[in-house]
Symmetry: C2
Subunit: 197 residues, 2 copies
Amino acid sequence: MQNNFALIRKNIEKQIVINDDEFRFFSGFLLEKKISKRDLFLKEGEVCNYTGFVNRGCFRTFTRDDEGNENVTRFAIEDYWIGDLYSYLTGDVSPYNIEATLDSTVLIIHKNDMEKVYEQVPKFERFFRIIVQRGYIALEKRFSIDLNSSALQKYENLLQKFNDIELRVSQKHIASYLGITPESLSRIKKKAYKKEG
Amino acid sequence: MQNNFALIRKNIEKQIVINDDEFRFFSGFLLEKKISKRDLFLKEGEVCNYTGFVNRGCFRTFTRDDEGNENVTRFAIEDYWIGDLYSYLTGDVSPYNIEATLDSTVLIIHKNDMEKVYEQVPKFERFFRIIVQRGYIALEKRFSIDLNSSALQKYENLLQKFNDIELRVSQKHIASYLGITPESLSRIKKKAYKKEG
DNA sequence: CGCGACGTTGATTTGCCTCAACGATTGTGG
DNA sequence: CCACAATCGTTGAGGCAAATCAACGTCGCG
């Protein structure tokens, strides 16, 4: 059991200092959930009442546009947090689907339990504020970089962040994340490999 | 004096409930600052120690890439907050310039004073957390929309958000914000007007 | 085994960029 | 206040990256 929490504890301790009791109080609310490949952590139309931490596997977040096309906005592997912050905070239904691209394991905590943690160990509020802020900064950076980058550069940025992403999600989903078609991604990779090899 | 604070009070009261005393405590730290067209609220290389609220005018936020090209990432008109959150929170120097595109007036509050406000009126901490979260959500939405939109669609989204932006900033800056060249924006507008007229 | 989803490749089109030239507007120094 | 320079927005020609449409082999799954 304890072992299942090693990664999440390390993740938290990157931001705040906590002792065993504080961590134990928090982890007492954690639930381990296995999610099979292609199953969903969150489904569009539902309210996101849980915060999830990926312990093993990989997830993709996507929406559908007016024509029903999937639109991948994010990937998450081990040591990443998943959820829909807006839905979580406002109680509105989410437009996002969060799908396991591999058999995965997440640790989840319910919003109500999280409130108890905030009350008992206020440091955790700081932790989650930092998580949100870091996410914002990362997104801002990605946005300003991508706006003036070629598809190849975006692709290379993605590989740098998730170096084995190719083994975890299909090319189709990577193309969607990059905002290009699968055909284009195929050609781009071919061209890039030629240069190197 | 009081009148200068009407807009900011309304802005805050959209998120939290405050009484006169609480607002007075906060507004006691506010400084009104006039910033002339082309002058900067924040300059790259400086630390952002202030949070700004636009009372009148318009600002653009931009960075420079390796080749020195300006890259507009954001606009802000009356009723918008400006600053560089990352720099503000971490104390790192900012890569951003925040420039008035018109003669403008901002209300500013120093980080240290903001801490005093948080201590005295904790609700304000909640307010600024909401501001950050809303900003994040808006950015996320903009990102996922833009990734699969034509330049024309992005342009129309911008007009919808800031309907008189054309009167406030140059076409060049709008093009930069959209991630296209001024030439392309000119052609796009021409084409769109033709359809309508 | 057979179907459907996936990745690849080809041909063609489209959207935006680059480079260049030009009037109109803005700003500046004499 | 005028004259000149700089900047801005527009327009044209040509090029390139990615989209679209289509065909085909492969792989995973029922």
